[in-house]
Symmetry: C2
């Protein structure tokens, strides 16, 4: 499976995009296993018989869901690069972005993290493909810590993204957005300390 | 649903326990949604027709799975209390216990965390019951930080368990047990720093 768009030139515009957007939302809300192609077709306002024109299997649509998340993450991180000049400011902006998603996380968890958690139970091409969702953010975070001159940039990046994923799970489990906001404030102080050479 | 054992006195010994043990293992390996009562009956070597004698619904068996995890966690934490005298030693022993589960986490993630992540998508009694799995470990961790004289004991406990849950997810997603071992070494140093009044 690839990132290439399989939509034929003659296809009615927008249906494929609506199906992917519907899948992204429903998989986040219900989980991948529970979500049927019929659910997604209904959410996308596409006749269920048309779905197979765009996606031959549910796994193909899940792959497109992963690709859509990857694109969204890359866009968000590029925006942080453009808007903030220093690596510490970029990292703290990422943390504030996360903190702002506390209510959504309390209801459904991290969109990428819960998808990975579910697909990790499988040991197939789709679960391997989901790996890139974690890779994109960790790689970007490592780049920032490297720019701060940290030799342990990879470990720090893994630690930061692990903290984010873990607090998403706890926020979701306890249905408490405040958990995420408090942990994000702690992580901001941690980044401040690291940028001053502590830790 | 309660923790009480619904097995009638006249029931053949061991079948209920085998069903719960089978459910704990299969739900960890495959996820709750995907695991059927027939799968569990087969894993437990119990005729599938007998399952309904012990558990009227799959949710009742999932509730027993949550209770079994809760009991196991409480036992593990009681052992840490007995074996280690100081709160810092107890916390580091917990972290070393976690580090030792890197291979299992790489294959299937944290047994309790992935179950919570999946049930969190539901908003029912079962998902609320799974909350206690996170609560048991956070409460115990908070008790240790309090004994170290930390006023921010609750935040530190949430941060430590979030780091554990997050690194479990990353270890699972990347299939890299070493990720968990490295992060655990970092967490041990963090606890050491806190016990010396830093951070």
């Amino acid at each position: 499976m690839t990132n290439s768009d399989p939509t034929p030139a003659s296809a009615p515009a927008g249906k494929r995009e609506r199906l992917v957007a519907g899948a992204v939302r429903l998989v986040h809300e219900q989980g991948a296993e529970k979500t049927t192609l019929a659910d997604i077709a209904q959410a996308a306002d596409v006749p269920v018989g048309n779905v197979y024109y765009y996606f031959k299997t549910k796994d193909e649509l899940l792959q497109a869901t992963i690709d859509a998340h990857a694109e969204q993450l890359a866009t968000t991180l590029r925006e942080l690069d453009t808007r903030h000049r220093t690596p510490a400011a970029r990292l703290k902006a990422l943390i504030r972005t996360i903190a702002g998603q506390g209510d959504l996380a309390a209801r459904y968890g991290c969109p990428q993290g819960t998808l990975c958690s579910e697909l990790d139970k499988r040991d197939d091409e789709l679960s391997r493909s989901a790996t890139k969702l974690m890779g994109i953010t960790i790689d970007w975070t490592e780049t920032q810590f490297k720019a701060m001159g940290r030799r342990d940039a990879r470990d720090l990046a893994v630690a930061l993204i692990a903290s984010y994923q873990g607090i998403s799970l706890l926020t979701n489990t306890f249905r408490e957005p405040e958990l995420m906001r408090r942990e994000c404030r702690r992580l901001e102080r941690w980044v401040d300390g690291l940028s001053r050479g502590r830790g």
